[in-house]
Amino acid sequence: MAEPASLKVSVWRGGEDGSFARFEVPARANQTVLDVVTTIQREFDPSLAYRFACRVGMCGSCAMTVNGRARWTCRTHVRKVVGEDGALELRPLANLPVIRDLVADLAPFFDKWQRARGVFQPKDAPDGAVPEDFAVVPPASGARQEADAGIECIGCAVCYASCDVVAWNPDYLGPAALNRAWTLVNDVRDGARQDRLDAVAGDAGCHSCHSTQSCTERCPKNLDPSSAIAGLKRTLFWDTLLGRR
């Protein structure tokens, strides 16, 4: 795509009831969306609030809504998303309260990890003591492979912002928290399986998922939370049917 000479950037300013401010920013080769935001803050409006840390796709803190889709801005080249007219629209992540400008409040997102019992509970040492021996976990075992498939989540909330079920039901735990729960359900060292399955079985849990798979489509790490949620549904179905819970 031919790159325009300048970018017409609409940036969300203010809180929930804010509005777009428009900036004309010089287009440069190989610039990322985060570069554009930084240019705006340093050269046009120092009061612009946004969040970033690592700039290399490790921390997940720079996620925003770019031209309607949740993305890591540090790993999104402008040329991949910009229209032919150079238009770029930046908003904070959806489905989360807006603190100011491009900064969303991730507290509800992480609260739901807690509600989904996303904390590892050692089976051998429930009081937090160090187990006497190493747990043997064959890497090729089915359970470990299921856990490994979702373990690389860094909690950027792109999936959460892309999920329609979260928008429809604000109590819904969301893809990331359920993906975390599924990795722990498959962790043979974990001792809180029943509590965790109870926590994700309610009305706001895995059964609310409609499998639109937007989470899987948008995950910058190419994880598959949709399949993790399907795994929770399947486990709960058989456990309930066979009287295991």
């Binding site: 809504t65 031209n67 309607g68 889709r69 949740a70 959806a94 498939a149 892309s162 329609d164 409609h210 499998s211 639109t212 798979q213 937007s214 899987t216 489509e217 948008r218 598959d224 949709s226 399949s227 399907a230 795994g231 549904k233 399947r234 179905f237």
Partner: protein, 113 residues
């Protein structure tokens, strides 16, 4: 509604599955009414069945068959994800579901015409 975040195949498959289900639910009363007319006399049912021979009714019937096939294929796709844990090739499965639905509609059309 902003379509930009929702424009991907599995979201479209979700919409097709839901909308086809709703339309089939709306059709059910007509279906039951037609069946019920058999109770009140053979002639009434015969009259209705003759009316359905007109091209517009046949076209609507073809759409109905496609809706039914799309809902079935979409349902099987979701069941395979949820019960069999098929992670891979989700978009291919959407394409196969859509292809199967259209194929069933085509076969119906060939049979009708």
């Amino acid at each position: 509604m902003d379509l930009r975040p929702r424009s991907h195949p599995t979201y479209l498959a979700f919409v097709v599955h839901r909308v086809s289900g709703l339309l089939l639910a709306l059709f059910l009363p007509l279906h039951f009414w037609a069946l019920g007319s058999a109770i009140s006399g053979e002639a009434k049912l015969e009259g209705f069945l003759r009316w359905t021979e007109n091209p517009l009714a046949k076209a609507a019937e073809t759409v109905l068959v496609i809706l039914l096939a799309a809902h079935l294929a979409g349902g099987l796709r979701v069941l395979s994800l949820e019960f069999l844990g098929w992670r891979k090739r989700q978009k291919d499965m959407v394409a196969v579901s859509a292809g199967a639905a259209l194929l069933v509609g085509l076969l119906f059309l060939l049979h009708v015409v």
